[in-house]
Structure formats: structure tokens, C-alpha cells
Amino acid sequence: MSMEEFIEEILVDEPGKKVILSGNEAIVRGAIEAGVSFVTTYPGTPASEIGDIFSHICRKISGLYFEYSTNEIVAIETAVGAAWTGARALVAMKHVGLNVAADAFFTICYSGPNPGALVIAHGSDPGCYSSQNEQDNRYYALHAHCPLVQPSNPQECKDFTIAAFEMSEKLDLPVILDANMRTLHGLGEVTYGPINPPREGKRFVRSQFKYVNAGFVALSNKKRLLDRFRKAEEYAEKSDLNRVFEGGSSTGIITAGGAFNYVMEALDSLGLYDLPVLKLGIVHPIPRGLIKRFSENLERIIVVEELEGFIESDVKRIAFELGLDVEIVGKEYFPAYGELNVDLVVQGLSKVLGVKPKKNYDEIRKLATEVKSKYIPRDPIFCPGCPHRATLYAIKKVVGDNAIFGGDIGCYTLAALPPFNMTDFVICMGAGLSIAAGISHIIKDKPIIAFIGDSTFLHAGIPGLINAVYNNANLILVILDNRWVAMTGHQPTPATGISSTHEPTSPAVKLEEIVRACGVRFVKVFDPYNVRSAMEAISEALEHEGVRVLIARRECALQAERREKPRRLELQKRGIAAYYILEPERCQMCEECYKNFGCPAIKKSIIDGEEILYIETARCTHCDVCRQICKSGGPAIRKTIVNPHLLGV
């Protein structure tokens, strides 16, 4: 389906229509049905698609505003600004984004989003599939007195988004919509409801007692927060987002979010249909009346949830406070790390209940382990033509392994893997630079080189850079400027020259100007596709002291190829073909291009019993770097143009 067709399908106002949507898509649909009028985001897997879809549909809905913000705290502040004028605002981010937004988030809860509403749609990542940690943000909800809902499937992603807006508006509290990667990337059937026109902001009414959190106002807002949170408990008590599946057994299960699906399927696979199940939709606050009613005829409650034992502690607390006579078990049977799945839940439940799983897990695992032992893990790699590869290659040529390399988050985190192994630590966005600065105050006998992407620099690098300059750190910062937020799906940055809604503009900021304004004296821009000039820039930087910044500027090859490839194919139709070839007769098989540079478009094959290298034309992006680094005297790699004379025609 093309983007146009998809937009049409997600915007169609046909209540009752059934479609297949991912959790992310369903959240977008839910927000539209709820009349969202203001959306901000900073991208992050698994929630990036929420913002990306809005960036495309924004112009189709009059009264809807969308922006890619520079980071999550900016995104939440911008969104609450709109809410304070009466808008229904949505902010989307990944779980660690809430760390960045936390400073604003806590105090926004004090003030509350009224007269509008604020929903924080947020993707968690049990299993660390694409994140630096798997923190459980339900503790943020607990700490900030913010209601939190957890949907289990795409239909609920849509319905809970609508409910979250209503809750937020009614309770004057932000509401966190917390879904895990499986729910957001999972696909399922969704039945549409009616679309409401965007609930737009109208005016900002000054109310210092609500919005100016200083001194006694802050304290009185804290008290107001506790009152509003008590209302949230009453709300949750009556909400139909919490559901009970009745059953006669004396053991019951409490679960929520993605874990609910595993529980139901596990019970089915164990042939157990009489355990009562309480599915919490509102996970914070957990209503005590509901827990009391649910546990009335139970001797034991099993809490099944992903990540930490959050619900478990809360239910234990409620049971203690109400003096409920029921045993509560949880994390001693289900892992508190990684993703849950049906099999882990089957095994946990069968242990608690003393029943035997129908499957012979030992046998399945034994066979699978044997077969899997022959699998060669497939590390993600830099794409053909990736400018990051060329930059890393040039740096390695100049400094070798004798340096400390500060890594950061983005496509370039792959620098940690072979063939480069050029990353010594990764913590969070922006951390690479300041950790390197810290090390530079102590380690003096090695070059210290930190990497940062263009988006990461704008998101979290600037204060660190200013600090490093101010405090005389001694390091080289390499800004890998590929024009886009490549890792999360090519969103624009303020330096790209594309607006949040995909119109061309002139770049809002220039990286080298920012760097100079931060006080850096040594700033050099190079094109990583020109290996010699890249190496010269690096060598020159090494000769200086203090904070030096190199900007490796070359557009992400995937993005460039999206434009270039159709052009090349068009030329081919006219009989003009340009391609890179590697001539086996000249190649001395030093494997510099294949092993040390490691371009995946260069491949090995065996012809007449002899190993040769060749270039896979369909994947080669013509970056030219392999030609420049070819060591076989008189390079074995060259560019060939068929029928160049036709070009002038």
C-alpha cells in the first residue's frame, strides 16, 4: 500500500469499518477520533511511527498541528503549552524519552493540562530490542501521581487513546499510554469509531496559581495533585478499561498490557478455563475496591506482568491495607527481565499451579539449541555507501586502535562491531561526549575521540560541548552529519532543510555555527567519501589540543539512493550505464575493501576453485570509497560508463 492509500484508509470516517493496523497506527487513529489537534514527538523505536504518520497526515486535517521537536523535554513542554490554551495534545516518545522529559513532566503533573488534555503515548522495550535499557516507566507514573493505561492489542491502542484523552481532560492530569514493542509493532484488527473534529486551543487564560510553580504555589499544586489523583482512583474504580473474566477457581490472575495475551493463550494451552482473570487497563492507580471484589473468593492471586513487579507490589500493598486474606505471588515465577511470552507464562503458571505443560519444553529446547548452534548471528551492519563507515575507516587508518572512543546512540553505534570495534562505551543520547570529556581530564597519553550523530548533537550534545570547552577538556568530537535521524526512520532535524511536515525549507540551523558559538576554535568539515581529505582533517585535529570538532558531512546513503537510483535506472533505459567493477586480474586479494572497509556490496565468490571478490552492481551506491582505498597497484576497482557519449544527447 502506498503512503497515499494508507493515509486515505487511516483517515476515512466510516464508523464500523474493520482494518488491520499496528498498535502505533491504531494510536494515531484513536487520537484522530478523539479530536487531537496538537502533536509533538521526538522519534524513538518502538514508537517512532506515531509521529511519522502524523507528519504525513497533518496537512490533510485542518486544525491539526504537528512537529518533530528537538528532544523529548522540548516536545512535552510544547505540547502542554498547547493544552493550556485548550487543545487536546499528544506527545509521543520511547520509554527513555521520558527520562529526558522528566524534569518538565513531574511539574506538569502539579499544574495539570487543563483546560486542554495531554496524553503521553510511549513505547517501552522489554528485551532491549532497540534501546539501551528496558526501564519500567510505570514507576514514573507512581512517582509523579500520573495515571497510566496499558493496552494489549491494536484495538485497545485506539480505544485507550480516546479514553486517555477523556481521563486527562476530566482529571486535569496528563495520562501515560504505555505500550510495549509487541503491542506497538503487533498487528491486529481494529474497528473504527466516528472521527471528531480537532479540539483546538483557543486562548491562554492567565492563572498564576495554576501555572507558576514557584514557592507556595508549587506546594499548593502538590496538594491539588494529590486531590486530583484521588479522583483518578475513583475514576479507575468505575472504568470499563479494567475487565474481569469470571471463573470458579480459588486461584485468580491479575495481568495487564501485553502480558494479558500471554496469560490467555497460556491458560488455553494448559486447558484451564476456570481461573478468574482481572485485566487491568488502568494500571495506575489500581482501584482498591476492584481488588477487594476480585479477591473475595480467592485463596491465591498470581500477578503476571512484564518487567518489574509493579502491579504485584501495589496489589500486595492494597491487600495489606484492606486486610485481605489472600496469597499473592508474581515475580518469583516470572522473569523481571526481557520479554515475556506464552511459553514463559505457561511454565510459570504450571509451576504455581502444579500442573504439567502439554508441550515438552526440554525436548523442544534441546532440538532447537542443537540446530541453532549452527546459526551465524547476523549483526546489523552499515548499509552500502554509508558515510559512517567511510568516516570510521579514515579515523582508524590515522589513529589505529590507540585511542579511547566515546560512542553514542544512532546508526553509528554499529562502530562497536567488527570490522571497526571503535566504541568503548554507550550510555544514553549525548553521554559519549561528556564521558569522554571526563576521561580526558585524567588520561593524557591517548587521543580521546567521541562520536555523535547530527540529531543526537542537537538533542543532547550542545550543553556537553559547551561544558567541555568551558572546562578545558581535551578531545576530538566527530559529528557524523548524515542530514537525517537515520536510525529511527529518516525523520528530519532542524539542520536538514525539510519541515516537520516534509516541505523543503532552508536549514534552521548550521552545525558549524553552533559549534563555533559553543566556543570551539578548531572546527573542520570534511566529506567522508573523500578518504584523503578525511584523513588529513583527522591528522590535523590530532596535532591540536583542547576541544576539536570534526564534522563528517555526507547524506545518509539510503536517502541519497532513494533519489539517485531512479535516475540511474532512467539513464540505463537510454543505454547509459555507469557501474563500479572490481577486476579479478588486477586484484591481489588483500581484502582491504572486503574485510577492513567491509562494504556489503563487495562480495566473495569462487570461480574455477579460486576465491575472487566482486561488486554487486545492484547494491553499489557509487560512493567511490573502495576505489580510493584499493591497494592493488593501479587500482583493481574502477568506474565504467557504458555509452558516455549518449549523455550529451
Binding site: M1, S130, G188, E265, K372, I381, P419, G598
Partner: protein
């Protein structure tokens, strides 16, 4: 009530997600309850990619019962009914989803992981991989979908559809060629895709 689980596995860029989405939509058209997931964290970067497609098929007089019809997006261990591997090394990775009842189709095509490059590791050839999987299920078939795609279409872009054609011709999936054909047309796919599926079906029939 019946459940049917399909797993498509391969490497980023091979069209795994596309077949997955097609099968999900085709299932929905048939009135099945459809659930699934896509793992594509690093798909643009030659990482492994999966698409799980799960159907609950109710009889005419059966009602939706959440106790029996709730599916998790990931396929439980050993529960895959049909496994299509567009790259043979990836078949090893998904072995825990396979049981003695599963059908496994393996494309005779390999993409060398960089780790193999850096450390000079050798990948077992497709036939060895197929024999390893035969320890779990007898229903393993190697298909030369890449060679056929290259020959018929000039590139590897139709491997996913050829594999799907083979799977359909096995006659064990709860979908017919017509179901797929209508869905493909609805989704705006080119006729070449339909031709690729037909070629896949012929490939299979030729073998039997």
C-alpha cells in the same frame, strides 16, 4: 475453532514484511481473527527480519470466546504451522518455532553475515541446513526461489511471492490462490507478483 500460524523469516530487504502484511490482510478478508507482529529493528541494516501471522478460524456457529481466541502476537514455541525462510541461514534461527507438524520451506539462497566475513566463519550450505531441520520435522523443502526470480524477473524482488506460491501449492494453508490474488489486487500490487505466485505454485507441482 482452529488456529493457524505462519512465520516468514529472512533478512532486511527480502520482502518478509510485505508477504506478512499480505497474509494478514488476506486472512482478514476471509473473516479470520488475525494477529501478528513484525521484528524489523535493524531491517534496513541487513539484520534478521520476521513476520508472524496468526489466524483464529471460527466455525460458522462458533462465537468469539476470549478464553480461547486471544492470541499473543508472537508464535509460541513449536507452534508454527508454516515457516517460509527467504534465506537459509535464518531457518536455523527460527528452529524453536518448528515442531514435527510444521512445514518448512527454505529458499536456496544465502547472505553472508559480516561476522562470518570478519572471522572467516563458514555457513553450512542450504542442504545441510535442511537436513538439520529434518531432525525436527520431515516436512522440509528446499526451493530455488532466488534462481527462479532472477531468471524470470531479472532480479531477486519476487522471491517472497514465489515462496508464497510454493506454500499455497502445498495445500495445507487455510488460503487459496484466489484469496491471495484478490488481496494483492486490492493492495495495488503489480501483475508480476501474481505471476510470481503462479510460478511458485508450478514449481511445487513440478516437484510432486
Amino acid at each position: 475453532m482452529k488456529k493457524y500460524n505462519i512465520l516468514v523469516a529472512g533478512v532486511g530487504g527480502q520482502g518478509v514484511i510485505t508477504v506478512g502484511r499480505l497474509l494478514k490482510r488476506a486472512g482478514l478478508r476471509k473473516g479470520y481473527i488475525v494477529v501478528g507482529t513484525e521484528t524489523r529493528g535493524a531491517s534496513q541494516r541487513e539484520g534478521p527480519v520476521d513476520s508472524a501471522v496468526r489466524y483464529v478460524i471460527l466455525e460458522d456457529d462458533e462465537k468469539f470466546d476470549p478464553r480461547r481466541c486471544t492470541l499473543s502476537p508472537i508464535i509460541p514455541m513449536g507452534d508454527a504451522d508454516m515457516v517460509m525462510c527467504l534465506e537459509s541461514n535464518e531457518a536455523l534461527r527460527v528452529s524453536e518455532y518448528i515442531s514435527s507438524k510444521s512445514y518448512v520451506l527454505i529458499n536456496d539462497y544465502q547472505i553472508l553475515p559480516t561476522r562470518a566475513r570478519s572471522f572467516g566463519l563458514k555457513m553450512p550450505p542450504t542442504d545441510t541446513i535442511a537436513n538439520l531441520l529434518k531432525k525436527i520435522t520431515p516436512n522440509v523443502r528446499v526451493v530455488n526461489a532466488s534462481a527462479v526470480s532472477e531468471r524470470e524477473f531479472g532480479d531477486l524482488t519476487k522471491v517472497n511471492m514465489i515462496m508464497l506460491g510454493v506454500a499455497l501449492a502445498l495445500g495445507v494453508m487455510p488460503l487459496s490462490f484466489e484469496d491471495i490474488e484478490v488481496t494483492l489486487r486490492e493492495m495495488g500490487f503489480s501483475e508480476d507478483n501474481i505471476r510470481a505466485i503462479r510460478i511458485g505454485m508450478k514449481l511445487m507441482e513440478g516437484e510432486v
